[in-house]
Symmetry: C2
Subunit: 81 residues, 2 copies
Protein backbone atom coordinates (compact mmCIF):
# COMPACT_ATOMS: atom_id res chain seq x y z
CA UNK A 1 0.00 0.00 0.00
CA UNK A 2 1.01 3.58 -0.57
CA UNK A 3 1.10 5.92 2.41
CA UNK A 4 1.50 9.67 2.47
CA UNK A 5 3.82 10.57 5.32
CA UNK A 6 4.56 14.08 6.48
CA UNK A 7 7.82 14.96 8.20
CA UNK A 8 7.99 18.33 9.91
CA UNK A 9 11.56 19.48 10.56
CA UNK A 10 11.92 22.52 12.83
CA UNK A 11 14.91 24.33 14.35
CA UNK A 12 15.46 23.30 17.99
CA UNK A 13 13.58 25.55 20.42
CA UNK A 14 16.83 26.49 22.22
CA UNK A 15 18.35 27.91 19.04
CA UNK A 16 17.89 31.31 17.47
CA UNK A 17 16.14 31.14 14.09
CA UNK A 18 17.57 34.03 12.02
CA UNK A 19 15.29 33.26 9.05
CA UNK A 20 12.26 33.51 11.32
CA UNK A 21 13.53 36.76 12.84
CA UNK A 22 13.93 38.23 9.32
CA UNK A 23 10.37 37.23 8.40
CA UNK A 24 9.08 38.71 11.68
CA UNK A 25 10.76 42.00 10.74
CA UNK A 26 9.20 41.83 7.27
CA UNK A 27 5.73 41.28 8.73
CA UNK A 28 6.13 44.25 11.05
CA UNK A 29 7.22 46.44 8.13
CA UNK A 30 4.05 45.35 6.34
CA UNK A 31 2.01 46.54 9.33
CA UNK A 32 1.19 43.08 10.73
CA UNK A 33 2.15 43.82 14.31
CA UNK A 34 0.09 41.17 16.12
CA UNK A 35 2.56 38.45 15.13
CA UNK A 36 5.05 38.17 17.97
CA UNK A 37 7.34 35.35 16.95
CA UNK A 38 8.13 33.38 13.80
CA UNK A 39 10.02 30.12 13.44
CA UNK A 40 10.63 28.51 10.08
CA UNK A 41 11.23 24.86 9.32
CA UNK A 42 10.60 22.36 6.55
CA UNK A 43 7.68 20.14 5.64
CA UNK A 44 8.66 17.04 3.70
CA UNK A 45 5.93 14.90 2.17
CA UNK A 46 6.94 11.34 1.37
CA UNK A 47 5.04 8.74 -0.63
CA UNK A 48 6.03 5.47 1.02
CA UNK A 49 5.31 1.92 -0.13
CA UNK A 50 4.70 -0.13 3.02
CA UNK A 51 2.54 -2.89 4.48
CA UNK A 52 1.11 -0.83 7.33
CA UNK A 53 1.03 2.76 8.65
CA UNK A 54 3.51 1.73 11.38
CA UNK A 55 5.95 0.41 8.78
CA UNK A 56 5.56 3.62 6.73
CA UNK A 57 6.32 5.66 9.86
CA UNK A 58 9.44 3.58 10.58
CA UNK A 59 10.72 4.14 7.04
CA UNK A 60 10.14 7.89 7.34
CA UNK A 61 11.92 7.90 10.72
CA UNK A 62 14.88 6.11 9.18
CA UNK A 63 14.94 8.60 6.27
CA UNK A 64 14.72 11.56 8.69
CA UNK A 65 17.61 10.33 10.82
CA UNK A 66 19.80 9.52 7.83
CA UNK A 67 19.09 12.49 5.58
CA UNK A 68 16.17 14.82 6.23
CA UNK A 69 16.98 16.31 9.63
CA UNK A 70 20.19 17.50 11.24
CA UNK A 71 19.85 16.49 14.93
CA UNK A 72 22.42 19.10 16.02
CA UNK A 73 20.10 21.90 14.95
CA UNK A 74 16.70 20.37 14.23
CA UNK A 75 14.02 18.07 15.57
CA UNK A 76 11.42 16.26 13.52
CA UNK A 77 7.83 15.07 13.88
CA UNK A 78 6.28 12.37 11.68
CA UNK A 79 2.60 12.09 10.79
CA UNK A 80 1.12 9.36 8.60
CA UNK A 81 -1.75 11.00 6.71
Amino acid sequence: MNFSVQVKVMPLKELLDPQGKAVLGGLQNLGIKTVQDVRIGKTIQLQVEAGSPDEAKKIAEDASKKLLANPVMEYFEITVL
Copy 2:
Protein backbone atom coordinates in the same frame (compact mmCIF):
# COMPACT_ATOMS: atom_id res chain seq x y z
CA MET B 1 -4.64 35.73 24.00
CA ASN B 2 -1.63 34.19 22.36
CA PHE B 3 -2.24 31.57 19.66
CA SER B 4 0.25 29.28 17.99
CA VAL B 5 -0.57 29.14 14.28
CA GLN B 6 1.09 26.83 11.80
CA VAL B 7 1.32 27.74 8.13
CA LYS B 8 2.32 24.93 5.76
CA VAL B 9 3.58 26.24 2.41
CA MET B 10 4.02 23.61 -0.32
CA PRO B 11 4.93 23.78 -4.02
CA LEU B 12 1.83 23.52 -6.22
CA LYS B 13 1.03 19.92 -7.15
CA GLU B 14 1.25 20.71 -10.88
CA LEU B 15 4.84 21.90 -10.57
CA LEU B 16 8.02 19.86 -10.52
CA ASP B 17 9.85 20.04 -7.19
CA PRO B 18 13.58 19.78 -7.99
CA GLN B 19 14.60 19.90 -4.31
CA GLY B 20 12.30 16.96 -3.60
CA LYS B 21 13.68 15.03 -6.57
CA ALA B 22 17.23 15.57 -5.27
CA VAL B 23 16.26 14.27 -1.81
CA LEU B 24 14.53 11.27 -3.42
CA GLY B 25 17.78 10.47 -5.24
CA GLY B 26 19.70 10.84 -1.97
CA LEU B 27 17.35 8.45 -0.16
CA GLN B 28 17.73 5.86 -2.92
CA ASN B 29 21.50 6.15 -2.74
CA LEU B 30 21.22 5.48 1.00
CA GLY B 31 19.29 2.27 0.25
CA ILE B 32 15.83 3.57 1.22
CA LYS B 33 14.02 2.42 -1.89
CA THR B 34 10.45 2.23 -0.57
CA VAL B 35 10.08 6.01 -0.75
CA GLN B 36 8.57 6.78 -4.15
CA ASP B 37 8.11 10.52 -4.13
CA VAL B 38 9.29 13.50 -2.09
CA ARG B 39 7.98 17.05 -2.05
CA ILE B 40 9.51 19.73 0.12
CA GLY B 41 7.86 22.85 1.46
CA LYS B 42 8.05 25.12 4.47
CA THR B 43 6.48 25.07 7.91
CA ILE B 44 6.11 28.48 9.50
CA GLN B 45 5.07 28.72 13.14
CA LEU B 46 3.61 32.05 14.17
CA GLN B 47 2.85 33.30 17.68
CA VAL B 48 -0.16 35.55 17.15
CA GLU B 49 -1.82 37.92 19.63
CA ALA B 50 -5.57 37.76 18.89
CA GLY B 51 -8.96 37.70 20.57
CA SER B 52 -10.08 34.37 19.11
CA PRO B 53 -8.74 31.42 17.08
CA ASP B 54 -10.64 32.73 14.04
CA GLU B 55 -8.99 36.11 14.32
CA ALA B 56 -5.57 34.45 14.69
CA LYS B 57 -6.28 32.43 11.54
CA LYS B 58 -7.23 35.57 9.62
CA ILE B 59 -4.01 37.32 10.65
CA ALA B 60 -1.98 34.29 9.53
CA GLU B 61 -3.87 34.23 6.22
CA ASP B 62 -3.12 37.90 5.69
CA ALA B 63 0.58 37.30 6.49
CA SER B 64 0.69 34.31 4.13
CA LYS B 65 -0.81 36.24 1.24
CA LYS B 66 1.41 39.27 1.77
CA LEU B 67 4.72 37.61 2.56
CA LEU B 68 4.96 33.93 3.42
CA ALA B 69 3.72 32.22 0.26
CA ASN B 70 4.21 32.92 -3.44
CA PRO B 71 0.83 32.05 -5.04
CA VAL B 72 2.44 31.55 -8.48
CA MET B 73 4.38 28.54 -7.19
CA GLU B 74 2.97 27.63 -3.79
CA TYR B 75 -0.21 26.98 -1.86
CA PHE B 76 -0.63 27.27 1.90
CA GLU B 77 -2.65 25.62 4.68
CA ILE B 78 -3.25 27.22 8.06
CA THR B 79 -3.81 25.37 11.31
CA VAL B 80 -4.42 27.05 14.66
CA LEU B 81 -2.81 24.78 17.28
